[in-house]
Symmetry: none
Subunit: 257 residues, 2 copies
């Protein structure tokens, strides 16, 4: 592996929103800490990341990052779900991607594809910023600063005027009876509109959110066409869910129906 490749891979890791440790990178690439530090130094000069004591964090391009570095939970699971979801997308389709860490993984797996992607998340839009193949539409709206999503009137109005082949929705909780839920009312409303704007409605959620209930209902599971979760989902709960909606289980090798 070339230095160039290694550096690109480091940037790729950080694009998922995670921070990385020097030791972690050493192990992953089988090189010394000195080499990793040199890599991080050049990447920092390129503004592709920000070094910290022990590793590096993504650049929140702009200013001294307020990056509250809580690591993304279940990132590897989300990456698997992202790969599985991306594999469902065909060339020349129009895709609507919800805001969220899982949908960001879908975005990363769609880079280079000949598709049109609309989203209400600036991180998702940014995943394609150096990708000439993908046409990106950003829905407008009020900027929610924590999840970096756009919600509210502008987003809803924009969604009224648009239609997509597939919509990939994220939810904070997925429950057999309560359906898909989220803690924020504005988010819920925008998510409902997103569903309406999509031909094929796909919900993505790693297994940790299954069985949980939130405050604001987005929709019942019957209203959706497909749920993509991971192979660590509880079998009992899974079979209950499967009575209401088709489920895909993403794993190392690929997805199983």
């Amino acid at each position: 592996m070339f230095a160039e490749e290694r550096r690109a891979a480091i940037v790729e890791i950080l694009k998922g929103g995670n921070s990385v440790y020097v030791a972690e990178l050493c192990k992953k690439f089988g090189v010394s800490e000195a080499t990793i530090r040199r890599d991080l130094a050049v990447l920092e000069r390129m503004r592709l990341l920000k070094r910290t004591h022990g590793g590096a964090v993504p650049t929140t391009f702009g200013l001294e990052s307020s990056f509250e570095e809580k690591r993304v939970q279940n990132l590897d699971l989300k990456a698997m779900i992202g790969r599985a979801a991306a594999s469902l997308v065909n060339d020349d389709e129009t895709i609507l991607l919800d805001a969220g860490t899982t949908t960001l993984q879908i975005a990363l797996n769609l880079r280079g594809r000949r598709i049109t992607v609309a989203t209400n998340c600036i991180d998702v839009a940014n995943a394609f910023i150096d990708d000439p193949a993908v046409e990106v539409w950003l829905l407008g709206g009020i900027l929610r600063k924590k999840p970096r999503s756009l919600v509210g009137f502008l987003a809803n109005e924009a969604l009224n005027a648009l239609h997509f082949d597939k919509v990939f929705l994220a939810a904070n909780a997925v429950h057999v009876k309560l359906g898909a839920t989220t803690p924020n009312m504005l988010e819920a409303e925008t998510k409902r509109r997103m569903l309406m704007a999509g031909e094929e409605k796909i919900l993505v959620s790693d297994h940790s959110k299954l069985g949980l209930g939130g405050i604001c209902r987005i929709c019942d599971l019957e209203e959706l066409d497909l749920l993509i979760t991971d192979i660590y989902a509880d079998r009992g709960m899974a079979s209950e869910i499967e009575r209401k909606i088709k489920v895909l289980y993403a794993g190392e090798g690929g997805a199983i129906a």
Copy 2:
């Protein structure tokens, strides 16, 4: 095998997204390392690959594009203009900020203020990502990846529904006769809509753009309320412009009328 064939074959190998080693290519084609290096040099000049120590990687590797952080021209002047512009904004106002490096400087000088900012630029929105005081609205639209701005139908529709106390517009060229212009038609259309959505219409432009003409006209200078430029503006041109529009000259200490 001809050199041409060999080079085509090398490009073909890289097309799959793989990297190649010089030694590997030597063996494969039965030629010396010097020959392979010459091939790689030729192909790199044709932008068909990117050389690394030991081999080459495909050009679509990502790092390169992010790396071209072309440095902003006249950044210090733009910062002065940004300070001057920001000083015109009052608390509780609603502000519309155009996309551009100068308007980004305005945004940086508005951090912490109790205002609402709408923009069609993700960099401007990001300037407030860690600022709880400023409420940010992002207009939707097609993401233009080089200037990182949002234009087109969604942006225009959103602007129809909104109204702001002040709009700060950026232009690529400002001319006494031709007015404010920009090279991109979609941008021009969205900028026109932005003007319509603002009560007070303010154009910002450092002196290097004065006297230049672009392809797409945004508006005549008479349609605007104020031009903010810097103190290095040519006096002759400045006095001509002043016959059509009020001008503010930003300098080290502050702005002079």
